[in-house]
């Protein structure tokens, strides 16, 4: 394969990782705002948070991407395509992850909040020192799933001509005529990236569990074998 094609692959890979990482970071921000907003004391905050999660979970990410790329400019906002891609992915994954945040916060035993009140922590301290450090540990495994979903969704940007990993593969397919091999290689590539992310998240999970004095059974997939 020529070095020109190779450089497409590297650029595509870089953009895919960029979309995943920044999509995840921005999505995390949306997730925490919306997830914590759902248990706010203010009704309108709860309302906005709920509308966000319901709407963006009901909206196909590809349609969202097209909306940001085709419709938003008609209202006078020109978005850089890569930024539009990150925003679309983050809005979408953030809505799912918001449910994770909400569930994890709700799952912290009520006695923890009561103890924090008994020690006269401020509401912000209760959240920051007691609730979140425990809830975050419970968020990591479902966040891992969210991250993989996000990685997969990044491939959609190739349909709006952003040169990600999938787009690079399309170019290579067009110029070499190798179809089966290129797409199979692409799948393997995504599989490897997913494995790297999953492994990193497993490490994070184990570290987080240790912060609560717990241990997580080792093993890459961490699932128990089932006897029939």
């Amino acid at each position: 394969m020529s070095s020109g094609l190779m450089s497409f692959i590297w650029e595509g890979l870089a953009n895919t990782l960029l979309l995943t990482v920044f999509g995840a970071l921005l999505g995390l921000v949306f997730a925490f705002i919306a997830g914590l907003g759902r248990s706010s004391e203010r009704k309108w905050v709860r309302g906005i948070a709920m509308v966000y999660t319901e709407v963006f979970r009901g909206f196909p990410s590809l349609v969202l991407l097209f909306v940001l790329i085709f419709i938003i400019p008609t209202f006078g906002f020109q978005l850089n395509p890569l930024i539009a891609g990150i925003l679309a992915l983050a809005l979408n994954i953030g809505a799912y992850a918001a449910e994770v945040v909400r569930g994890a916060v709700k799952a912290v035993p009520p006695g923890q909040l009561e103890a924090a009140i008994a020690l006269n922590f401020t509401p912000v301290q209760r959240l920051r020192k007691v609730i979140l450090p425990q809830a975050v540990v419970a968020m990591i495994p479902p966040f891992t799933n969210n991250l993989i979903e996000l990685l997969k969704a990044t491939s959609l940007v190739s349909l709006v001509y952003i040169s990600d990993f999938t787009f690079a593969a399309q170019l290579i397919r067009a110029s070499t005529g190798e179809t089966a091999l290129v797409f199979f290689g692409l799948l393997v590539g995504y599989g490897i990236i997913a494995l790297v992310f999953t492994t990193a998240m497993k490490l994070l999970e184990r570290m987080a569990a240790r912060s609560l004095g717990r241990t997580v059974p080792s093993g890459l997939f961490g699932r128990k074998e089932v006897a029939a």
């Binding site: 709407v55 009901g58 196909p60 008609t74 990685l151 089966a180």
Partner: protein, 219 residues
């Protein structure tokens, strides 16, 4: 260029055609996902590691790679091995295969959720393996998995726009087709978004109703 609501309205007939396509793909794909998922779940439980390991690997692999690439793969590769079916059929199959990896996990969790004592009791009553499955395990496992399975219908429906990549004209594809004729993309895309959102929310509501009816069963 500004946004004309009338353009959204004008796109609706095309959207309804597209909706039919999207629902067809979802329906066929869902049946495939339900059946194939069960097959995967059983194979992963196989006592032979020669079956359970590769199937487990395959399931993890399909689940962690993009549906879009899988669509391309089948779209281009199936004809090469002499299978020529319509793009819609290819799309529904790829969708079904992709989501079978999710449903297989749901089945697995449902089956694992049946208490060990139920297996032991079946053994004690000398039930055959088949009878244990059909009369004891599955009747208890299925109610547990209904809500999760319902959610995947919605997820699959929301993935149907990706089928436009393999020339299937669902709603987003229809919107782009209109755009390429009228040179106005915003309105038809907004129409597609609106219909997707409404139908997905409607499905979520139905799923919640189903869950309320069947999901409550406890053992």
């Amino acid at each position: 260029m500004n946004f004309e609501w009338s353009g959204v309205w004008d796109a609706m007939p095309t959207m309804l055609d597209g909706l039919l396509v999207a629902l067809t793909a979802t329906g066929i794909g869902y049946v495939i996902a339900l059946v194939l998922g069960l097959v995967f779940a059983f194979m992963r439980r196989s006592e032979s590691r020669w079956i359970s390991m590769p199937v487990g690997f395959l399931v993890e692999f399909i689940r962690s790679t993009p549906l879009l690439v899988q669509l391309f793969f089948f779209f281009y590769v199936l004809p090469l091995i002499g299978i020529s079916v319509s793009p819609l059929a290819t799309g529904a199959f790829a969708l079904g295969l992709h989501y079978a990896t999710y449903t297989s996990e749901v089945y697995r969790a449902g089956i694992d959720g049946v208490p060990q004592g139920q297996w032991e009791a079946s053994t004690a009553l000398n039930l055959s393996t088949r009878r244990t499955w059909t009369n004891v395990i599955l009747p208890q496992a299925i109610p547990r998995v209904v809500p999760a399975l319902g959610n995947y219908v919605i997820a699959m429906f929301k993935d149907t726009p990706q089928l436009l990549a393999i020339t299937v004209v669902e709603m987003l594809g229809g919107a782009i087709a209109i755009g390429s004729e009228t040179f106005r993309y915003s309105e038809p895309i907004a129409a597609a978004g609106l219909v997707y959102l409404v139908v997905a929310l409607l499905m979520a509501w139905v799923a919640r109703m189903v869950e309320r009816r069947y999901g409550q069963v406890r053992v």
